[in-house]
């Protein structure tokens, strides 16, 4: 028998026996960040392909939501800070080694850009809108001129942002479950998939829906591939990583993960989407909502599980 007893005032649920520092705020922030990144990515991509009119939900309409999503995400992050009055310190420092720092800076760049981006589509979306002020009209006109370069910038930033939501976690060597290079691509894919699902959910255009359903299917396949690789990687690694993986293979996270994330978030919607593409009647919103919910659950479960995984000594 092995017995480990810790004596200290440290036995607060906040720190020990499992570190429990991040509640709902951080996973929500990561989800919204990834989701927004996905939306911007598709919007910018199809702008560069000059398909803005064909896929107008993806390119023009949905980006309107991005500043809101980012604002909510940043709000969640802010809520999580325990020393809030010093928030501004984030922006008096650039720390390349700290994912938190470059995440904050990426958001600092993405958020205003996303506002401009949304503004640039405003006249397309609302042709009857009276902008009232001339300077505003002038400004929007100027912005529109830079749509292409903005799209280039956004594509890069969206990938960074999407990856960042995963890398923030994977950079923590101290938490074996997070400590996998696959986290970044996995979260990026998951964000893109959620965005694609949102587009299928909202668009009225058949062509757009079917394209993004296909895209989503591919993304789901990629995501499943990443997940399998994630666990294979862990199982082939050190004892602590094996233990971390075991939380999902029989341990406390088995049901939530395999049912919620893999089942409801990936496998079932994928089947439904296949049926849909084969012209079986499936209400679009069902798989779409499932994918978005699954993407959110992924963040919650990964953030939670990472905190429960620790080194042994």
């Amino acid at each position: 028998m092995v017995e480990e007893i810790i004596t200290s005032g440290r036995m607060t649920p906040e720190v020990d026996p499992i570190l429990h520092i991040w509640g709902w705020e951080i996973p929500l922030y990561l989800f919204l960040g990834g989701f927004a990144a996905g939306i911007l990515f598709f919007s910018a991509l199809f702008t560069l392909q000059n398909k803005e009119n064909r896929y107008s939900m993806a390119v023009k309409a949905l980006p309107l939501a991005v500043p809101v999503l980012l604002a909510i995400g940043l709000g969640a992050l802010f809520l999580d800070l325990s020393h809030k009055l010093y928030f501004w310190q984030l922006y008096t420092n650039i720390r390349w080694e700290s994912p938190m720092s470059w995440g904050a800076w990426t958001l600092m760049l993405v958020t205003p850009l996303s506002i401009l981006w949304a503004a640039s589509w405003i006249e397309d979306l609302f042709p009857n809108l009276d902008l009232r002020y001339d300077w505003l009209k002038e400004a929007i006109r100027t912005i529109r001129q830079y749509q292409k370069p903005m799209a280039w910038a956004l594509i890069v930033l969206a990938v960074i942002l999407g990856m960042y939501t995963g890398i923030l976690l994977s950079a923590f060597n101290a938490r074996p479950f997070w400590n996998s290079a696959i986290m970044g691509p996995l979260f990026l894919t998951s964000g893109l998939s959620a965005a694609a699902a949102a587009i299928t959910l909202l668009t009225k255009e058949h062509a757009e829906r079917s394209l993004f359903t296909k895209i989503d299917l591919i993304l789901i396949a990629v995501e499943l591939f990443f997940i399998i690789h994630l666990f294979m990687g862990f199982l082939a690694s050190t004892q602590v990583h094996i233990q971390a993986a075991e939380m999902f293979l029989g341990g406390e996270f088995t049901v939530p993960f395999w049912v919620w994330v893999v089942g409801i978030g990936l496998a079932i919607p994928a089947l439904l989407e296949i049926l849909e593409l084969r012209k079986r009647f499936v209400p679009t919103y069902v798989p779409a909502l499932m994918v978005i919910a699954g993407s959110l659950m992924l963040r919650f479960i990964v953030v939670e599980a990472g905190q429960a995984s620790r080194w042994l000594y």
Binding site: V2, R10, V15, S82, Y86, Q89, L90, N93, A174, W311
Partner: protein
């Protein structure tokens, strides 16, 4: 200069005096602490082994907490002591997540706190409070770079280990076996 601590697991009886002393010295709020005791037992009655360790921040030479910090709140101070500057800390807790030893906690006032190696005492030429209180003299503090220091000599003479060396943090607390 590289400040370090050697903790003799043979001498330590796990009394937790070091925890209490740290608490009063550094005004650590009740319910929190910067150091703690681990009693790790293995075996089957009556073939048993027990290792008792007094643990705290390892003041890692390659400190992931410092790297994870988006501000400069977590930083490396004199002699390699890893410190948190309260007025720069935003409480994002990235450093807590990055520490494999769970050495940090969120102070009720919001900033993140941890062992400072009692820098306020060390600067005056004193030992950290926990070192000075330990009834069994299980702890030694000093400069590992000074080959004539008690700690360097002791570490050279005795068998020792550090905690989770495979995490790559290069801890500066040596557990003498």
């Amino acid at each position: 200069m590289r400040y370090a601590m050697a903790i003799d697991t043979r001498r330590c009886v796990g009394c937790s005096d070091c925890v209490v002393a740290c608490q009063t010295e550094n005004d650590v709020p009740v319910g929190y602490c910067r150091d703690w005791i681990v009693e790790s037992m293995s075996g089957t009655y009556p073939e048993l082994q027990l290792e008792i360790r007094s643990e705290r921040c390892n003041h890692c030479s390659d400190a992931p907490c410092v790297r994870a910090c988006p501000t400069q709140a977590s930083h490396v101070g004199k002699g390699g002591i890893v410190l948190v500057e309260e007025s720069e800390c935003i409480g994002c807790k990235a450093c807590i997540a990055s520490c494999p030893y769970d050495a940090r906690y969120v102070h009720p006032e919001g900033y993140v706190d941890k062992c400072t190696f009692c820098i306020h005492r060390v600067e005056k030429g004193q030992n950290p409070a926990c070192v000075d209180v330990c009834p069994t003299h299980a702890m030694i503090f000093g400069d590992m770079d000074d080959l004539n220091s008690d700690i360097a000599k002791l570490v050279a003479r005795r068998k020792w280990k550090t905690l989770i060396p495979e995490a790559g943090t290069k801890p500066n607390i040596y557990y003498l076996l």
